[in-house]
Assembly symmetry: C2
Homo-oligomer: 728 residues x 2
């Protein structure tokens, strides 16, 4: 095949890149529109060719070693006659010296819109396609987007839309919109080159010109040869069943059990026991005796019953010698909290590696070392250092920081966000983030996966797994180490390797991962994603008790890329029958301090039934308890004549309304297949973000502030668009 | 004076703009470097002039009615010889027709960096200077910044730094950095023109070229004549003393008092009474009788003692007739909660206007109508519909949405943020946001002012007042209606007028106003600004219990424009003596799960004493109560042998440590003059954001999540830079 031959020949000749003409030949072969051009050997032939092409022309020096041609004066634009071509050829020849292999003659193309496109090999993700704004502002504006190859049409199109300078691709100053199909061909051609030719290390198309007629043309191109420097760690993948067993042990031995209040060997056991774990629990310590009124076995092998999971907190020097005992006992999984392994340096790294090999050989799965623990509320298993016990639910949380993970669990507990399972992944000696992804893919109890990730072992595997899973359920992630400083901190924390952050984030978005910006946002996203149907579009109806909240919420919607469409006459007509005559007749719909509790019930259905809306936000309907309770207290304090009996009933009445209303909107979600997000504007902190409603897959959601609801809804809409792009 | 003559002459001749040559003459007179150019009358003279200037040249058609010259083919660049000039002149003459007054010959300047600058008159703020990226990307990238005139050097410089394309102004592709002094001259020249010539409506300098040598040249310019369309409302300013009296009444009459639980006439009175207001309270209702065991007067005039403040909740039709009684009684202020005025349409607007005139004539100050009320915790005055009673403090909150305002107060109450005073400003019949600004300027009890604003009556007054006050104390603001949709909602809510949002926000930033993005952020900012010293710079030391939190916090710092500098050897040496040998030796400093409570005490002082840091963030030191309490509970539940006596003491011990630690960091703030922000990672909600420490102007601050601390610190740093820019 022609392209392969060209590459082989160049490599055989010891060249590190193809020359410009060869580069364009390769691109042309892969469907990239390239400028018409003619290779000539000398100045006379250049003139003759220029006359055929028609003035003005471009003349370039040709040679595999000729790089940075513009800077070296080897590109001469807009040559208007034979004399100018002659002169230019002489100057190029002088500047290029011995590296000159000939000249390229091209027509001078008209068009003011310059882009760049390219391909390179990332250490973690392999071939990556790049697209960006070109011309003189390239470096100043740094407006580029990336996609992991292979690229499909939908993602190639999305690359164009994601540029800040995307307006340039539309009708622009009298120039026609870009022919998007041509641009797609360029990007997909680059992608295919990256996938099919491992000896192409890099391709640089610059400029990629969009002409006045919208035609796309690669005006200059360079194909660099050589292999990439892959730094993916190749680990044997963990069997998803083994991960399932880790979270569903029938019995647990606490090896390194202790009676001291702050020791891991005490804290983990007391958490599991107090959490009402129903399997058998055994304490193991060579010293024997009793702890917490229970017998202590000197070795796991002394335990007179099977042991599924060993929770190990012995000192680092004692871990290895346990392995034969575990093997003998038939222990399937080890939760290794002990620290002092790879996080401390080379010696620890080697010990950890040896341990993992030993475990693999014995058919044992180790979580850790250096983990904060796991939990699975569905079997009442709470085995973390921090005593946190969230309710059973559908969100699985995997965190490369145990501290951050357990703290999030504590918030999840207090906000009513149900948890399927949690693991602090520790040093990941055997189970990596990639393994968890694969392990959770077919777990029916998980409907939302939340990750805190500082680094990944194998980018390509991560990307493939995440994308496969994201097609089935949302994957929400916070990346720690998005900045140089954060990465430095991560390196000292989990030994994270520096990676190209822009490529990493592009890979995540391409894989459909929902990227959170802050730790707390992860919880909001998991609450929303695990409780609500996805919106089909971005049109939001807002219903508010209090005009100001409607204003700030409308602002937030727009700023997050949602829309707040005006109400059509037929909806206004319906609402006219519900609200007093002076209502605003616009979206947001202000309840104008209407205290009649039936109003929000009726109004919410009118808005949900409106075909012009994809989601409903309601503000201030819930969460009035704080003020009302205070008002009643005040009356009791200062008004001897107040109606005690009546006032005392109000809080219960309001609580009952809240339940009814929440159930009502959940039913509406089922009926109309649109999400409803509440904003409670709570000031008393005694309500949960998530409220369960019996007999429905959906839940009631009420955030304390509008920005949290809007941000979550925007993320859901963005995920929906990704699913559409993937054809799901 | 020459410029004035030019303008007068043009206006006399009925022209709406100056021609290009005149425009540049005006700019030149005001210090703007303009391209050397020569006006000639015909083609022959153009050629002769071009030969003097030296080829290549630019030839342009000249004429006051010739606009959009490039699009009409009236600008011909890069003409290389006499023949090209001839040809160009002929084509220009044909395209311009009768509007042609002559030609301009200019040298063809080299340089690839194009900007635009200009002046226009905003309805609210008057003359505004504009600066932006020019060239073909202008419209596609919309990279422009604004400043209200008059402009000083510091702000002119800041305009350059604020462009996204600011890198273009530095060394760029072998071209020299822009001569900033020249650019400052351009911007200040435009500003002076705007201030000195009210007949200049608009100036457009495009392109403003930055040459290879960094020189700035106005290549084309247009001065448009005419007056602006000012839409500022001119209201007589309210005497600050009158506003003081409004918040400090010695006695209150509730006019429209009611015994019905949900009526304003009951709710406001019971709130004030239950809040332990110490002045005299009188109930007024024509029906007389008794309410809440108190006598009801039939009219204020029946009250046998002076009345300072009348709180009025009678129906809209009954308000006007009260005014003579108030005047007779010597009532100073009226809190008018009644609605049905300007927010309902033209009729209400006229009534409101008449009421204000009447009040003004009677020397009475009206707050409202349509207000949610006021509070002043310093005199136990809590007169809002929502029964909220924050602690006395230094933050004054003025809100154009009563609902949003009182909800924020409730959060302030629960987070321990002290409040100086609050007002829901209602329809602002008499007291506008501008009046509150002036009223609070010299209020010693206010150290931080927080505003929720949907619209202002007089932009120029608002700008001047805000800037004057921001030099003394921080002004924090959320603008409702930042988007078209938000503005639409605001219009139906408070009758906000659409304004140019970009100009409004630029004016706020220029005035030193700290702009919040969400309602909740206002509270965080007010907590931080009212409790901490300002940071001198942006270098942050981070101390964390838990590596992951350090990573995400470092990321956040960078993303918010702060830095996390590496530790110098002398600091590392000091910390070596405090932390175990395996500590990370980097910033963030990870306490590596060190449980010894003396460690954070010592470490925080080492970091505060470090000259390389301007602020300290500590994470996870406070807020461990939740987990520890749970651990103790677990031990009690499952361990019959646990040391009850010892465990029971732990929560108190921890609470004591928290107090000590908070006092310790507050003392460090006093000693080193740097802010300390805590992140408690609290999950139990029983701690406050703000903790008072006796005998110091500063307070302990602990946010539940790092993003809130980092965002607040970044805002403080940004305010500090503004103060520096203002020379304070």
């Amino acid at each position: 095949m022609e392209v392969l031959e060209l590459i082989k020949k160049a490599i055989f000749e010891g060249k590190t890149s193809l020359n410009e003409a060869e580069s364009k030949q390769v691109l042309h072969h892969y469907g990239v529109p390239v400028v018409e051009e003619f290779v000539v050997t000398d100045s006379e032939k250049a003139v003759a060719q220029a006359e055929k092409v028609g003035f003005p022309v471009v003349l370039k020096g040709l040679g595999a070693r000729l790089t940075h041609k513009t800077e070296r004066g080897l590109v001469r634009l807009n040559l208007k006659d034979a004399q100018e071509v002659h002169q230019a050829a002489a100057q190029i020849a002088e500047a290029a010296g011995n590296d000159l292999e000939g000249f390229i003659v091209q027509p001078m193309l008209s068009g003011t819109r310059e882009f760049v496109a390219g391909l390179f090999r990332d250490d973690q993700f392999g071939p990556v396609v790049m697209f960006g704004l070109g011309g003189i502002l390239t470096e100043a504006l740094d407006d580029v987007v990336f996609r992991i190859a292979p690229l499909d049409e939908a993602h190639a199109n999305a690359m164009m839309d994601e540029l800040r300078a995307a307006p340039l691709l539309g009708t622009f100053r009298g120039e026609k919109p870009v022919h998007r199909d041509q641009m797609v061909r360029v990007l997909m051609g680059l992608s295919r080159l990256g996938m099919e030719h491992s000896k192409i290390r890099e391709i640089d198309v610059n400029p990629l010109l969009v002409g006045r007629d919208g035609d796309v043309t690669a005006v200059d191109a360079l194909v660099v040869l050589g292999a990439g420097t892959a730094k993916q760690m190749m680990r044997p993948p963990v069997d998803p069943k083994a991960i399932y067993h880790l979270f569903h042990p029938r019995s647990i031995a606490f090896v390194g059990a202790s009676a001291a209040f702050t020791k891991w060997g005490y804290v983990l056991f007391t958490n599991v026991a107090a959490g009402k774990y129903e399997g058998n629990m055994y304490l193991v310590n060579p010293k024997g005796g009793q702890i917490a009124g229970r017998p202590v076995f000197k070795s796991v092998t002394d335990i007179p019953a099977p042991v599924d999971l060993a929770v190990v907190s012995v000192p680092v020097g004692k871990v290895m010698e346990l392995m034969p005992q575990f093997k003998e006992k038939g222990v399937r999984s080890v939760l290794l909290v002990t620290s002092g392994f790879s996080e401390t340096g080379e010696e620890g790294r080697l010990l950890e590696q040896k341990l993992a090999e030993e475990a693999r050989a014995s058919g044992i799965l180790i979580l850790g070392p250096n983990t904060m623990g796991i939990c699975n509320p569905h079997v009442n298993l709470f085995c973390t250092y921090q005593h946190v016990r969230p309710t059973p639910g559908a969100t699985t949380l995997i965190s490369q920081s145990g501290n951050l993970g357990t703290q999030l669990l504590a918030f999840a507990e207090s906000e009513g966000i149900g948890i399927r399972a949690f693991a602090g992944s520790g040093n990941e000696a055997m189970i990596t983030i990639e393994d968890y992804l694969d392990g959770i893919e077919d777990d029916d109890l998980t409907n939302t996966l939340v990750l805190y990730v500082e680094s990944i072992k194998n980018g390509r595997r991560f990307f493939d797994s995440a994308r496969r899973i994201a097609r089935k359920k949302p994957v929400i992630m916070l990346k720690g180490g998005r900045t140089r400083e954060g990465n430095r901190a991560a390196a000292s924390h989990t030994g994270a390797m520096a990676s190209n952050i822009a490529v990493f984030e592009a890979a995540c978005r391409q894989a459909g991962i929902v990227l959170g910006k802050t730790s707390m946002e992860l919880l909001d996203l998991s609450a929303a994603f695990s409780s609500l149907p996805l919106p089909a579009g971005n049109r939001v109806a807002v219903m508010t008790l209090g005009g100001g909240w409607g204003v700030v919420t409308a602002d937030l919607c727009i700023e997050y890329g949602l829309t707040v469409p005006p109400l059509p006459p037929e909806i206004i007509e319906k609402i006219d029958k519900i609200l007093p005559p002076y209502w605003s007749r616009s979206n947001p719909v202000d309840l104008v301090a209407e205290m009649d509790l039936s109003v929000p019930m009726t109004l919410s259905e009118v808005l949900m039934a409106w075909e012009g809306c994809d989601a409903l936000l309601h503000l201030g309907i819930l969460g009035r308890q704080f003020f009302v309770r205070r008002m009643i207290e005040s009356a009791f304090t200062v008004d001897p004549n107040c109606d005690h009996q009546f006032l005392e009933k109000i809080p219960d009445y309001l609580a009952e309304f809240n339940s009814k209303y929440t159930e009502h909107v959940v039913r509406l979600m089922e009926k109309y297949g649109k999400p409803v997000l509440g904003v409670s504007l709570l000031a008393d902190g005694d309500s949960h973000t998530v409220t369960n409603v019996e007999g429905t897959p959906f839940k009631g959601i009420a955030f304390p502030a509008p920005e949290r609801a809007v941000s979550a809804l925007a993320a859901m809409y963005s995920y929906k668009r990704w699913l559409d792009m993937e054809g799901i």
